[in-house]
Amino acid sequence: MKKLKRLWPWLKGTRLAIILSLVFSSLATICKLAIPYIAGLLINYFADHRAHVCRPEDTCMDESGFIPVLLLFVLAIILVAGTIFRHIFDYTKAYIGQKVIFRVRKELFKAYLDAPIKEIDASSKGDLIQRLINDIENVQTGLLSGFAALYDGVTTILVTLFFMFTLNWILALIVVLLTPISIVVSHFVSKYNSKHFKAQAATSGELSSFVNETLKNSTSIRTLGIAEDKEKEFEELNEKFRQNSFKATMGASTINPSTRLINAFINAALVMVGAFLIINGTNIGGGGMPFYFALGFAVGDLCAFLTYASNYMQPFNEVSDVMNELSYAFSSLERINNAVHMPKDIDEGKKNISGKIDTLKMENLFFGYTDDKLVINDFSLEVRRGQRVALVGPSGCGKTTLINLLMRFYEPANGKISINEEFAGDILKKSLRNHVGMVLQDTWIFTGTVFDNIAYGKEGATLSEVKEAARRAEADGFIERLPQGYDTVISDSSGLSSGEKQLINVARLMLLEPDFIILDEATSNIDVRTEKLLNDSFKELLKGRTSLVVAHRLSTIVSSDLIVVMKDGAIIEQGTHEELYRKKGFYHELYEAQFK
């Protein structure tokens, strides 16, 4: 119930529709179940009529034939009304569901956009997407449609019980007392069977990850010459799956016939007892149809009863199906709810950076992704406008982390970053990011045209601007060769090489021309010759701008104004290339290693 409360705010605006749909559902159910009852009345009438016709000394109940016509008329009305009610209910059910999940999806997506990078980095991307797509689907099918089915099922059971007890309580008791047997049986079987299903699911998971791994490593499996071994391993899992799967399937297959057997027994018992009641003309257990037809329990009553009894089980099955889905849906709801309430990245700054970034100061920064390991350890650096600063050092020394702190994707544990002598925390993140442009190690291509990808940073960019940026990024060559040129739809997995992806990211930056530029291994996947051409464009771009460049290939940074050598999160050397090279320290060693 507590969990259900979470759904409540999302239901706003649909609450009236929900009440209406419940009303229509009830009406449809009543109509549906009234038909066998009234048809039973008709049969009673005819049966009685014939009995009297057979014995000419009796007079018939109704000579005019008015009653059957009236009943048929009522039946027709109920039939049409039931059909319409049912349609309205089925449609509003979907309408409500769609309206609710529409709202939830948008809200959840917004939460992802508002979340701090820290949260996104710490979550699995697939899991977040799963919540946004599959879990919300689950809530729609399991919870919203599930509740509709649940309500439908429960009202059907109640109304059926009402009609059955009105007809004859003895027969009704037979149904009510015997049906639980089939529920117990199916419950027992599925409980016993759940371990087989679990085994089946577990083996399926094993198979899946085995195949996934085999596919990912297909080349090395070939080159290691172990393809046959892998087929054998697969066969073992496959055999295990066959056995588990058979047990699970066979187990599940016994439920349906068992419940049908019990239903057939109930049916037979009803026929026997019902016939006994009619033959003996007693009124034990109720006199059947009321009003004008109070003839004692009669054939029409039995006929209606058989219909009710054969449909009595179905809602129970549906309700139990719904119960299963509900528990899935509840855990999905929980997952959605947690994601919606993930922390927000609050932009607590108020000031805007006026003009350009003149100074960027980092003082005694400390930072670690986890508490036990510092990645940035007492780091201080000042960058002035127009300076070209390079960060070098072995991988894992904290270069990328430093950029995360500068862009304020993460906050330092200790220490202070200031921009133009202003504490960075007081400045709007938006304003900071507005001044800084970056190309990161992890390239980013979204699904869209080449044009859209390059123009991403600059709203309203023209084609000629984009082409010019691509030209400067040395990307125009391969873009022109794409089937639709700048209109080609690309994505991360559309077959661009990692070098080409980097060039598009560079073009994005070239178009933006921000006054502070961060390049984190921006050219690591670009071949040396293209890189050389690109360097001229970079030189042009960086002229008069401030830049912070991270590179493995030291040749690209030798002409920097300042080279900062990092190790284990701290600066160990800094200076120009000549100074550092002459010093014969760590930088010298790194640099020389390139030529050995």
């Binding site: 048809a39 008709l42 005819f46 049966a47 016709v53 059957p68 048929l72 039931g82 049912r86 349609h87 089925d90 059910k93 979907a94 529409f102 956009l113 990078i117 991307k125 997407i129 797509i133 399926s204 899946s208 195949v211 596919l215 990912k216 080349t219 080159t223 290691l224 399937t249 297959s253 016994t254 016939p257 049908r260 057997l261 057939a264 037979a268 026929v271 026997m272 009619i278 054939v299 006929c303 058989l306 219909t307 991988s395 994707f409 990161l440 980013w444 940073g457 994505s491 070098g499 071949d527 040396v528 010759r529 293209t530 040749s555 030798v558 090279y581 790194l590 290693a593 390139q594 030529f595």
Partner: protein, 576 residues
């Protein structure tokens, strides 16, 4: 090959299933038939003896029906599971025989879905087909025949009601099918946008595009909602219309039956009751039947996917028989003669490499350098016979490569690929892939030579340290060192390092190369972006745009090859 082919083995059982179903349905139809007699002969004539005896038969046939059903259930579960097992085996076998290019062009994600979900969908499909598909039609036909034997009009009502229901169901399913795929594409679209935004969390924030992305997502959510509602408005007719037709038939039967009393052979009350109960079970069967068709059509989509996979044939066959012992060995180990490879098979597709001509002698160290996309890795793939050349010939130990036993070839050549390939398990299990019976000493030696011992020895559980799938708990450099160790452990006559030290710093790179050069008699092929890694090679091949433009020692190339000099100069940075 057809994905239903493995079913052939079980055809007897498959044909037995509908026969059993026929008996099962017969028992089901028999019960209302008896009820009719109980009412007409027993109840109406107040014959209690007849009534209770006939009622007992009802219990009996219920048990009979149960037995037939269970038999059918067993049969179909057995066949479905056995069949799916055979199918999966076949599918995996096909997958193993495909070349990398084929796997990539088919799509590995898709293959994964086929092996797991689609074969399971086929299992369920076969199971359902054998178990359930025959019951409703048998029931419809049986009930209709019964209705006709009673009265022509009631028979007609049955036929018309069932046909109308079938029509409605068919019509709705037809239009919902298309709508379902439209909805699926909306879902894919949403997944796409959210994937873009999550993987680009930094750029989205850096470029302040939050609102733009929200709008983009909003659009796809709206489309999804519209499409879903359009589906719902169709589906919302399903229940009401089937309900309408069946109940209209029921009312008509009661009316016609009731008013027939003055006719020559009136429809008895018992007949009316039994017709009503036939209609009720037909409606239930109809609903079930439509659900089944939906599930089966899903299985059909799976079948098509599996078929398309099974139809593929591996384009690398091991037809070679000659291996090392039989060959007339010289110093010439590998020779390419005017080799070219075009990946696509369309006209106008550019060859990835062409005119490759070079030779490698035993014990040589050969470097390969060139820009990205210049054809270095392609040349290596050709040598490993991961692809067949489009033109030209490759000789290995003086024998055409395709005549050389493929297993022997791959045993003799160890390779570290550009893309790290690590399996879930432990350091040990990953090493053992290269050599099943390696001793611990051998493993330690290989690790030491690859500089991997440094970090492996720091683990408390040493060689048994757990390695995640894809080696996600190892850094790039650690992975590469482990893979080099694996290749060294494998041994063989040729070692290929395909840009496999890129994540190592220059110092470690140099040390590993020094260790490897100590191994006697080993022919080494080193592909690298770093000119400095290749300085000591006996021979350096310079690749450019799919061609070899120069071939020689470092000093020679500096003098004669502009491209090489350029690469070297850029990396050196022009400063010393």
């Amino acid at each position: 090959m057809n994905s239903l082919k493995p079913l052939k083995k079980y055809r007897f059982k498959v044909f037995l299933a509908p026969t059993l179903k026929l008996f099962e349905v017969a028992t089901e139809l028999f019960s209302p038939f008896l009820v009719r007699y109980i009412i007409d002969e027993g109840v109406t004539k107040k014959d209690w003896n007849f009534t209770w005896m006939t009622s007992l038969i009802l219990f009996g046939i219920a048990i009979f029906g149960f037995l037939f059903t269970m038999l059918a259930q067993y049969l179909s579960s057995r066949v479905a599971c056995d069949y799916a097992h055979d199918l999966r085996k076949e599918v995996f076998h096909t997958v193993s025989s495909l070349s990398d290019k084929q796997l990539d062009s088919f799509g590995k994600e898709k293959i994964l879905t086929i092996v797991n979900n689609d074969t399971f969908a086929m299992q369920n499909g076969v199971n359902m087909f054998m178990r359930l598909i025959f019951r409703p039609p048998f029931l419809f036909v049986g009930a209709t025949i019964f209705a006709f034997t009673i009265d022509f009009r009631t028979g007609l009502i049955f036929v018309i009601a069932l046909l109308l229901c079938a029509l409605v169901i068919g019509r709705i399913m037809h239009s919902t099918n298309q709508k379902y795929s439209a909805i699926q594409s909306s879902l894919d679209e949403m997944t796409l946008v959210s994937n873009d935004v999550l993987s680009g969390a930094r750029p989205v924030r850096a470029f302040e595009k939050e609102e733009y992305e929200e709008e983009r997502f909003g659009k796809s959510v709206l489309t999804y909602r519209e499409r879903s509602l359009s589906l719902a408005s169709t589906n919302a007719w399903f229940n009401p219309l089937t309900f309408f037709f069946v109940n209209a038939a029921l009312i008509l039967i009661v009316a016609i039956g009731g008013f027939s009393e003055l006719e020559d052979s009136p429809i008895t009350i018992g007949e009316i009751v039994s017709l009503v109960s036939y209609l009720v079970s037909c409606l239930a069967a109809m609903v079930m039947f439509s659900r089944m068709i939906v599930s089966l059509s899903k299985a059909l989509a799976s079948k098509e996917r599996i078929d398309s996979l099974l139809a593929m044939k591996g384009n690398i066959q091991n037809s070679g028989v000659i291996s090392k012992d039989e060959e007339a060995s010289g110093t010439k180990l590998i020779e390419f003669k005017d080799v070219s490879l075009t990946y696509g098979n369309k006209k106008g597709d550019k060859p990835a490499v062409s005119g490759l001509t070079f030779r490698i002698d035993q014990g040589e160290t050969v470097g390969i350098i060139g820009g990205t996309g210049s054809g270095k890795s392609t040349a290596i793939s050709l040598l490993l016979r991961l692809f067949e050349p489009t033109n030209g010939q490759i000789f290995y130990r003086g024998i055409p490569l395709y005549e050389y036993d493929l297993n022997a070839l791959r045993k003799e050549i160890s390779v570290v690929l550009q893309k790290p390939s690590i399996f879930k398990g432990s350091i040990r299990s990953n090493l053992l892939l290269a050599k099943k019976d390696a001793t611990e000493d051998e493993m330690i030696k290989a690790l030491k030579n690859a500089l991997a011992y440094d970090y492996v020895s720091k683990y408390d559980d040493f060689l048994d340290h757990e390695v995640e799938e894809g080696g996600t708990n190892l850094s790039g450099g650690q992975k590469q060192r482990l893979l080099i160790a694996r290749a060294l452990l494998k041994g063989g006559d040729v070692l290929i390092l395909d840009d496999s030290m890129s994540a190592l710093d220059y110092l470690s790179d140099q040390k590993v190369r020094a260790n490897i050069s100590k191994i006697k008699g080993l022919t080494k092929i080193i592909v690298s972006q770093r000119a400095s890694s290749l300085i000591d090679c006996d021979k350096i091949l310079v690749f450019d745009n799919g061609h070899i433009i120069a071939n020689g020692k470092h000093e020679e190339l500096l003098k004669t090859c502009d491209v090489y000099r350029e690469i070297f100069d850029i990396q050196k940075g022009g400063v010393k």
